[in-house]
Subunit: 199 residues, 2 copies
Amino acid sequence: MQDRSTSDIETLIDLMAKLPGMGPRSARRAVLHLIRKRALLLTPLSDMMTRVATTARECLNCGNVGTEDICEICDSEARANGEICVVESVSDLWAMERAGVFKGRYHVLGGTLSALDAIGPEDLRIPRLVDRVGSEAVSEVILALNATIDGQTTAHYIADQLSGQVKLTSLAQGVPIGGELDYLDDGTISAALKARKEL
Amino acid sequence: MQDRSTSDIETLIDLMAKLPGMGPRSARRAVLHLIRKRALLLTPLSDMMTRVATTARECLNCGNVGTEDICEICDSEARANGEICVVESVSDLWAMERAGVFKGRYHVLGGTLSALDAIGPEDLRIPRLVDRVGSEAVSEVILALNATIDGQTTAHYIADQLSGQVKLTSLAQGVPIGGELDYLDDGTISAALKARKEL
């Protein structure tokens, strides 16, 4: 290892290994791949990283990541339908957008309430959500938080804060599309049974 | 998706997804992580990629990847012990270096002979290896090719080319350290039995 310990390539491998889902082995493989595909991949990737490092910012209104102070969704008049979908993270927002059915705007909390990690409502853009419900013409707040304990605790807290001011809904719980009962946990099956629908 | 389809962030995700071991999902996760850790990770990573894109080159002597025309191993007098270790790829060279026992120099073929893919000796730096054996003071050539059919075919071809000129050896085959017989293939077990050693 001493032969390349101080080289740029070694430093690049160490940095790549810090990405989520990468380890030292996959980082070495990725860097060799990048060096082989210099013109096709390495140069465009480094240019784009430099650009994103300068331009990426959080939307001041909803917390989405974009290249403007107000993100494209908040900026689009077409999406001002009075619905706000509350999600934990930007990746959840992107997952909702991929589904392509929600036509309103978002509010990204940036995490969940957690007594253990000392994360309170102020750390989570919850006051900003309450402001938005007061100032924008909001008819419905959809709580699309993860079906984890922390996610549901946070949903209950937000529901408390907003109760009486606006219509509050949450995502349905049940059997996922393509899901097999045999592989589902008890909680999902009992939730799906309780929320059964007449055909 | 239309909301970020043309953005720099989307382009960056598409580029990241082309790395080996990455897909669209892990690329999205990596890019969000990069944006969150802008000063600590994104900026250093883009800077280092730009540097490597300019400086990385193949060693003219052995084919190793480095930042000079002649790599540090070929440049080091301490490693001129007359041994050349022939490997398929730079990642194999790095694996040998991590083991830290080989003190000689390398020769990176850049692949294996393959009739199917029309890869012949000229495509593989094999003529350069024959040159080196003639011109450098080489006492032993260690064939450290992968124990695959293509790797072994290539090893046989190189052994033919160099026979009589230099001492030729190959890596021992047998049970890997920590290996359990129950999980080993038949070929490995029979190779290990044939090459058994007296205690």
